[in-house]
């Protein structure tokens, strides 16, 4: 499977604002939200809307550092597969997601256009700020 041509750009995005000043900036930009434009209220609305039962499977496609799939899985008890291209993003989210979800979370570096997953495997998919 060939990674998208702009993989390097995706990786570079996650290497930015990792300094101390960068961390303060990120915290001031979105509070407790790790990344992206989806607010906590919107993520909670998504969790209520998808109506997953504990143990059902959720795919967060283009997950970045894990938002908002992590919150949806926390609120619903779902198992979460978190997929994205930049390994750096997955790495940055790993410890926090493990603490929040324990053994209920898996991370995969992969291209959303060709997922190594069988048909009909998930009860819900979330896909935020990836199309744009």
């Amino acid at each position: 499977m060939h990674p998208p041509a702009n993989t390097r750009l995706f990786e570079e995005k996650y290497l930015r604002f990792q300094s101390e000043a960068g961390a303060r900036f990120r915290a001031a930009s979105g509070g407790s939200v790790p990344n992206g434009w989806t607010t906590v209220e919107q993520a909670e609305w998504m969790a209520a809307t998808v109506g997953l039962a504990p143990g059902e499977r959720l795919l967060d496609l283009g997950a970045g550092r894990g938002w908002p799939g992590e919150l949806i899985a926390q609120h619903t008890g779902a198992q979460l597969l978190s997929v994205d291209v930049p390994i750096e993003a997955l790495r940055q989210g790993r410890a926090r997601m493990r603490e929040a979800l324990g053994a209920r979370v898996w991370q995969v570096c992969g291209d959303g256009r060709a997922l190594p997953i069988g048909d009909g495997h998930f009860s819900a998919v979330c896909h935020t700020d990836v199309l744009c």
Binding site: R16, A28, I117, G118, H121, C132
Partner: protein, 136 residues
């Protein structure tokens, strides 16, 4: 990518998509400005809801969250301004400049009604015969 989402969902499974998109029905000059001011990969082919439907989903909910999006962009620009000196030192001038320009353009596009942010929910309409479970 939406067709992949459809494929991996069980029948009646839900897809939730949030994206920044062009305001529908922009004409010529406005469309050109929106593409200039918006994110590099903003798509112009169709509205998000329509793209979901073309990929096999029944459109269940469409929610305009542009107001909240505008607030978040402003938050980001304010945070950038407050931390600018330290950011320039630790991240570099180019990074700070690029971030500010990108967000300022985006805010301008939103304020001019050229860009919006939308959350859509689609249901994967398919018969039981179309699925098989398993990971390859």
């Amino acid at each position: 990518m939406l067709r992949e989402c459809y494929r991996v969902l069980r029948p009646d499974g839900l897809l939730v998509v949030a994206a920044i998109e062009l305001t529908p029905n922009l004409k010529d000059l406005d469309l050109h400005r929106a593409l200039e001011l918006g994110p590099a990969d903003v798509h112009a082919e169709a509205a998000l809801g329509e793209m979901l439907q073309r990929s096999g989903f029944e459109l269940v909910i469409e929610r305009d969250v542009t107001r909240e999006f505008r607030v978040r962009i402003r938050q980001r620009l304010d945070a950038l301004a407050r931390n600018e000196q330290a950011l320039r030192r630790e991240e570099g001038d180019d990074v700070v400049h690029e971030e500010r320009e990108k967000r300022a353009r985006m805010l301008k596009a939103v304020n001019q009604g050229l860009l919006r942010r939308t959350i859509v929910v689609g249901r994967a309409e398919k018969s039981l015969m179309q699925t098989s479970d398993g990971v390859t």
